[in-house]
């Protein structure tokens, strides 16, 4: 008590006994007041510390910085010797971990990075800590702790400790440990409450860190995906370059075929004809027949080369898509056929206004082949009938078809139809080189569609095709 005040009181009371009594009474009154003031001061400091912690949580700083600053503040406020954040190794079952952050009195050693193994912790205590248990020990040697526990604590010179859980979500991430090393210490309820509050706020920081880690992982994953896409793209670019080179080679090859293979044929045909014209008398009927066969074979070969060139051109030429009236194309082809062979009465039925989106020249080749085939394979049919139209597949895709009532084919051989040079009929029956349908298939595939055939021997044939799903009606 203030000595000056006591002297004044003594002067006022001439009676020593009365003074003693007065002094007793005052001490009795003042002591609790003092305690209250102390408490209030602690409350104020505590609020300040909490405020600092919360403020820091709002700032975009890393967990290490938050831990370090919080440890320093808590240690200062509590007058403790060490405040440390202990972290369990993930997947260690809470048996192993280490201090990842601390603030420690210079008189005592650092606990950072010292591995701690407590084989009974995970089994016995983790569950309780996970539910918010607080360990509050005034003196580790008088608290009934197990030997191994005491041994671990003494490793860090701990005499009294206060331990609260650090939770990340619902998972026990680690422990917030307050150590008193120089002497035992009775922890006050307000102090315990304060440390719990700090731990709760650190849990927020841990949660943020977790979110941030997830976000970073996602970013990394995205970057990797992007990298993979880029690599894939580069591979694709390379493939395109190679493909272009191959295409160029193919073009050069076709060009040379177009020129060089046909030139000798012209000579063979031309001079055979010259022989027939100039030396007719020297040739008997057999000789003349042979020359005619030579000419016919030469011309077939010429046609074959032309068809092969068409097939290769179909593969390499660019698609120029536009709106195409298939019905009109079909009509023109049929009219042309009828004009070429006016002696054949063929009934045509063409569904009007079938518009598609595609390459007009290539689609012309498709219909040319299909309708010419229909024409060819209905030869000898007394009531030949050729139909062009469209139906709808189950999924709504239009299916275009060319149908005839000609000789048809055995479905056993359906797979051979679209392969180049495959023929189902003898040359004498129906001429052809087996390239037409292969060409049709390539064109349809280039348009993203499918082509197939159905038929029966002597029951006619139907060739159907689809195109990529961009068809529209104008």
């Amino acid at each position: 008590m203030n000595q000056e005040l006591l002297a004044k009181l003594r002067n006022c009371c001439r009676d020593e006994a009365a003074f003693e009594e007065l002094q007793q009474a005052l001490v009795h009154e003042i002591h609790p007041l003092r305690q209250e003031v102390q408490q209030a001061n602690f409350q104020v400091e505590r609020q300040k510390a909490l405020f600092h912690v919360i403020t820091r949580l709002r700032e975009p700083i890393d967990l290490d910085t938050i831990f370090r600053a919080t440890a320093a503040e808590v240690r200062q406020l509590l007058g403790a010797d060490r405040v440390g954040m202990f972290r369990f190794y993930p997947d260690s079952g809470w048996d192993d971990g280490e201090f990842v952050s601390e603030d420690v009195d210079p008189d005592f050693s650092s606990a950072i990075a010292q591995k701690v193994h407590d084989h009974c912790f995970g089994e016995q205590f983790a569950v309780h800590y996970e539910q918010g248990r607080v360990q509050n020990v005034a003196d580790i040697y008088n608290a009934g702790l197990s030997d191994c526990h005491i041994q671990i604590l003494s490793q860090f010179q701990v005499r009294a400790n206060l331990v609260v859980p650090l939770l990340q979500g619902r998972n026990l991430w680690g422990l917030l440990c307050i150590h008193q090393c120089r002497a035992p210490r009775q922890w006050q309820d307000t102090e315990i409450e304060f440390v719990q509050q700090i731990a709760e706020h650190l849990a927020v920081a841990l949660h943020h860190a977790e979110l941030l880690a997830e976000l970073r992982a996602e970013v990394v994953e995205r970057q990797q995906a992007q990298q993979r896409a880029q690599e894939f793209n580069q591979g694709l670019q390379q493939a395109i370059i190679e493909l272009k080179a191959v295409n160029k080679e193919l073009e050069a090859f076709s060009y040379s075929v177009s020129h060089d293979l046909r030139a000798p044929l012209r000579s063979i045909d031309g001079f055979s004809q010259a022989l027939l014209e100039d030396c007719l008398e020297q040739l008997d009927a057999t000789g003349q027949d042979y020359l005619r066969r030579i000419r016919a074979a030469t011309q077939r070969m010429g046609q074959l080369i032309d068809d092969l060139l068409t097939l290769s051109r179909v593969t390499r030429s660019d698609l120029r898509k536009e709106s195409v009236d298939l019905s009109r194309l079909a009509s023109r082809i049929c009219i042309h056929l009828q004009q070429l062979y006016p002696e054949r009465p063929v009934e045509f039925e063409i569904q009007p206004h079938l518009f598609v989106h595609g390459d007009a020249r290539l689609l012309q080749v498709v219909l040319d082949n299909l309708l010419n085939n229909a024409w060819k394979f209905t030869t000898g049919q007394t009531q030949a009938r050729i139909e062009f139209g469209a139906t709808e597949a189950e999924n709504g895709t239009p299916v275009y078809f060319v149908r005839d009532n000609g000789v048809g084919f055995d479905m056993v051989f359906v797979n051979k139809l679209f392969k180049p040079f495959q023929r189902l009929h003898r040359m004498q029956e129906f001429p052809g080189n087996g390239i037409g349908l292969a060409t049709v298939q390539r064109i349809i595939h280039r348009h993203g569609g499918q082509v197939w055939a159905e038929g029966d021997l002597n029951q006619g044939a139907t060739f159907s095709f689809t195109l990529a799903a961009e068809e529209f009606s104008p």
Binding site: H259, R262, A263, R266, D269, G270, F271, T298
Partner: protein
């Protein structure tokens, strides 16, 4: 004027001797008796047109009525010959008929871009070829009015 139809010269630029023979045969078949000058490659063709090389003494004022030009030729190819013909003042109006084996789109496109007057693909069938030559002769030698000198 170039004189009468018979005096008109046809310049056939063709390296394949078989094709030369067949072209000449086809012309004869249809009684086209005009003089046929044969150039075996692009260089010879240009020499003839501009009086250089083997044709240094030739009067270049006498121009062929029509040039039948193959595209695939040794030394200077047909497209290059065509390009030079169109570039040169002396020959820029000269009728040039490309007579070739190729029906490749790129050849057609380049030939027309360079200003050929006609493009004919030689058919394998000699009778068709002969017919093409007949029509060609009829058109360019008899019907067509050549450009003024």
């Amino acid at each position: 004027m170039n004189g009468s139809a018979q005096d008109r010269v046809i310049l056939l630029v063709e390296d394949n001797p078989d094709d030369q023979a067949l072209a000449i045969r086809a012309l004869k078949r249809h009684h086209i008796g005009n003089e046929i000058v044969i150039a075996h490659d692009g260089v010879e063709a240009l020499d003839y047109l501009y009086g250089t090389g083997a044709y240094a003494d030739r009067d270049i004022k006498i121009k062929p009525t029509v040039v039948l030009l193959d595209l695939k030729l040794p030394r200077i190819d047909g497209l290059e010959v065509l390009r030079r013909i169109r570039e040169h003042d002396l020959t820029k109006l000269l009728p040039v008929v490309v007579l070739t084996t190729s029906s490749e789109e790129q050849d057609l496109l380049k030939s027309y871009s360079l200003g050929c007057n006609s493009y004919i693909r030689k058919p394998v069938d000699f009778l068709q070829f002969s017919e093409a030559i007949r029509q060609l002769g009829m058109y360019w030698l008899l019907m067509n009015e050549p450009p003024p000198v």
